[in-house]
Amino acid sequence: MTFLQPEILWALPLVLLPVIIHLINRLRHRPQPWAAMRFLVAATQSSTSQAKLRQWLILLFRVLAVLMLILFLGRPLAGGWLGWSVNSAPDAIVILLDRSVSMEGKLTGSTTTRREQALSSLMKAVEPFAGRSQIVVIDSALRRPQPLARASDLRELPATTATDTSSDFPGLFQAALTWLEENQTSTAELWVASDLQRTNWKPDDERWQPLQAQLTALQQRVRLRVLAISAESDQDTTVTLQDALRTDRDDRAELLLAVDIQRSNNQPTTLPVTVNLNGTPSQFEVAVEGGNLRWRQRVNLGAQRGSGWGYVEVPADANLHNNRAWFVYGPPAKLRTTVVTDDARVGRWLAAASSAAAPGTQREARVLSPADAAGQTFDGDVLILWQAALPAADVATKLDAFVQSGGALVFLPTGKADAGQFASQGWGAVEKAAENQSYTVARWEEKEGPLAKTEEGFSLPMNTAAITQRQMITGTAPALATFADNGALLTRQTLGRGQVYFLASLPLREWSTLGNGPVLVPVMQRLLQTGSRRLTQASLMQCGDLSAVDQALPWQPVEGGGTNPQIESGIYRAGERLAALNRASGEDSTEVATREEVNGALSGINLQWFEETGQNSDRMQGEVWRLFVTAMLLFLLVESFLVLPTKVTHTDNLTGKSVKRRPEEAAEVVS
């Protein structure tokens, strides 16, 4: 514990004053001849244990009251973090700093961000240890140990600046553990500064358990101190890119932007949103009713035929690192569909529907047998229509990778029993409608997806589709279209960046009328559009999420002010490749890991909590003072309560009932 007036602590032995007074008092006993000895002996025998306990408690509370007084006079330093941390200096202090986007939120009524507040507290705490302990900083973005010579260097280190990354605390602790194992210090302290964002701490992550075991198994004594920056931030609006789809039609190129806007304030407002395309800004007024909004906007690319970049931006607010969403787009691409089937008729229908191209667009379809498909890589495809036995082994792995990278994969029924599964879905029984009857489609998703309304607002004629044969879909994927008997016609499941669909019928006459142009062609075109993300998603990346191959590329900044695509968002170019780096997903979450969860994740480790609730550390200091004064008063109050004489029970001579009176009152009654 640190004190502004540590010399007062020399008075600490005074806590024994009540004990000494008590002992002196006992030694000062005077002799008294006594006649009523039998009552004295009886009283001593019956009240000894209780009286002794009371005496000890009185003594204890007196000692504690004096202790609190001395501590109060010593002016304990505020910042719990600073104040309480000073025990004997450990050999090593490893600072684990959360540099995620959420740490860039400014504290209410202040220009200081949470990260800056954490650094400020850490600097004060580190100062007494500079030169006495080995101090190392490991940040969440790079996870590389950086030695710290002086406390003031903490703010200057490149490893403590703002980033657009997320934090992975199990990984961060692993880095600290590695450092501790490599540097065998006898005592070490881990100082963690974080806003406890749940997506960063991942309390349910399975890596925590081995980490606990390894940390507790270390030979050196490790203490853990967590500085939770729990101070509130001002109102914040975040913008996240969901989609940037290029469409080319009739020599007209458009970019369909889908952006999620999330606000901490739920009041309806009009938000000025800026879309900057290749350096040219356009402003839109967006009416926001509640907290969240998905805003879709078509941006005309004009004569721009090649690739380009841009960003969507909302006005500056409490967190400057979540106000911009970056995107890039490529030149018009050929959208290829692969139909895998043994049925030539199905192949023809589907290939025709998926290769129907509007002027100015390029569509291509190929039909493969399942056997041929096994040797394919599907690199150039955006849509795969699979009407064969559900894939297994290598083919399933390839298809999974295809979907994960953004492609669209549709499974169609074969009419045969199939025990296989893909993405936890599979095929069930084949059912045929009674003669002259059909299964009707009762409900379908019209807001988005392959069955959505047209741009002009017309619904697809799903209700007129007559389905006479169907193969039931098993699994729990959400249905986009269902029959009147609640059976699913079309299900969709998201895997990575892409989607997997199961369609319960075939566009053949003996199965259904889905093969009619008004349904099949628009559905195929929309699936192609969905799958075309595969071609652009590779260029839409998140900070901290670059693959080893991507990291090795010679990235040059184009826009955004950053220089390192691994930690700073913006537009980067490596040779011909243009990439948009956005802040890590999950950083917009306001969910915080509770202390119990963190304690659980780090159970078995000596852990101490500290909390920063605001930027004014003096306020914290005052609270500590009050704590001691309050404790002292409380102890004195309890002590005075304990020394109060207790009531004595007497039997009333007249009524024979027990009556509680003070001893003096009882004496009057008897005499």
């Binding site: 009283a43 004595v648 009882a666 008897v670």
Partner: protein, 266 residues
């Protein structure tokens, strides 16, 4: 203990004759000399025997701010002996220590009073008490109905004491108990640890009085309440006396209450 006019040998006074007076008590000699009717009156002979039982155990030697308990008891005993003999009744004294060391039989002779005074002057508080046995013995020894006045601190076992009282009442004796207590014993106010030395033995106890005060007072009051209730039950007169009270007032109250009680009995 109030004097009654009656037919005894000791002359009391003359008074004028009123019609209806017994002519046998008319003093004819005075009539012969003065030619007036005077009635001759004599002190009544109540034949009262009063035994003053004084506890002289060491506990009676307790001395508070207002003097020793035994001295206070002696003053009461001497006063009551004087009043008794003065009104023509017989007074006796039994001093009870470890054993009955002094037993002065009840006599109404005024010279007997001096013997009681001398005895009271010499007696000292020492040893343990044998009050219970002494009272039982007294109940057996005194055949005629008597007034037994017990002066004690009453710290013996309450049930044993009440047994004696029952015994005395059974023998038709009139019983009065003066329980003499010091305010220090009643309030038990000490501000620091005290070594309590037992007056009747070598036992001592060092304790923090504040910590046991409540329990001590509870025990004491329980004992006193039992004695009071027992005396009430056996129709004995129980009187608790605090040593800082004036003994003159105590006696005045006692005598007037007894006179009232006698008058009401008739």
């Amino acid at each position: 203990m109030a004097p009654h006019r009656g037919s005894s040998v000791e002359f009391a006074e003359y008074r004028n004759y009123v019609p209806g007076d017994d002519l046998r008590r008319l003093d004819w000699r005075v009539f012969g000399r003065t030619d007036r009717f005077y009635m001759k009156e004599f002190e009544a002979d109540t034949n009262l025997r009063c035994y003053l039982v004084l506890d002289t155990s060491a506990s009676m030697g307790f001395t508070g701010q207002h003097g020793s308990r035994l001295d206070y008891a002696k003053k009461i005993a001497a006063s009551l002996a004087y009043l008794t003999i003065q009104q023509g009744d017989a007074a006796g004294l039994v001093c009870v220590g470890e054993k009955v060391n002094l037993d002065i039989p009840a006599k109404r002779n005024p010279a007997h009073l001096q013997l009681i005074y001398d005895t009271l002057e010499q007696v000292e508080a020492k040893g343990t008490t044998n009050l219970v046995q002494a009272l039982h013995d007294l109940a057996e020894k005194v055949r005629r109905r008597a007034l037994i006045i017990v002066l004690t601190d009453g710290f013996e076992d309450a049930e044993s004491l009440l047994n004696c009282f029952q015994h005395l009442r059974f023998q038709k004796h009139d019983l009065v108990m003066f329980q003499l207590l010091d305010r220090m014993e009643m309030e038990f106010r000490f501000d620091r640890p005290v070594r309590f030395n037992d007056l009747e033995s070598s036992f001592n106890l060092v304790t923090e009085p504040n910590s046991i005060r409540d329990e001590y007072l509870a025990q004491l009051h329980k004992h006193l309440a039992r004695l009071k209730q027992g005396c009430h039950q056996f129709n004995a007169d129980y009187r608790q006396v605090i040593l800082d009270e004036s003994y003159e007032k105590l006696l005045a109250d006692f005598l007037s209450e007894r006179a009232n009680a006698s008058a009401s009995r008739g």
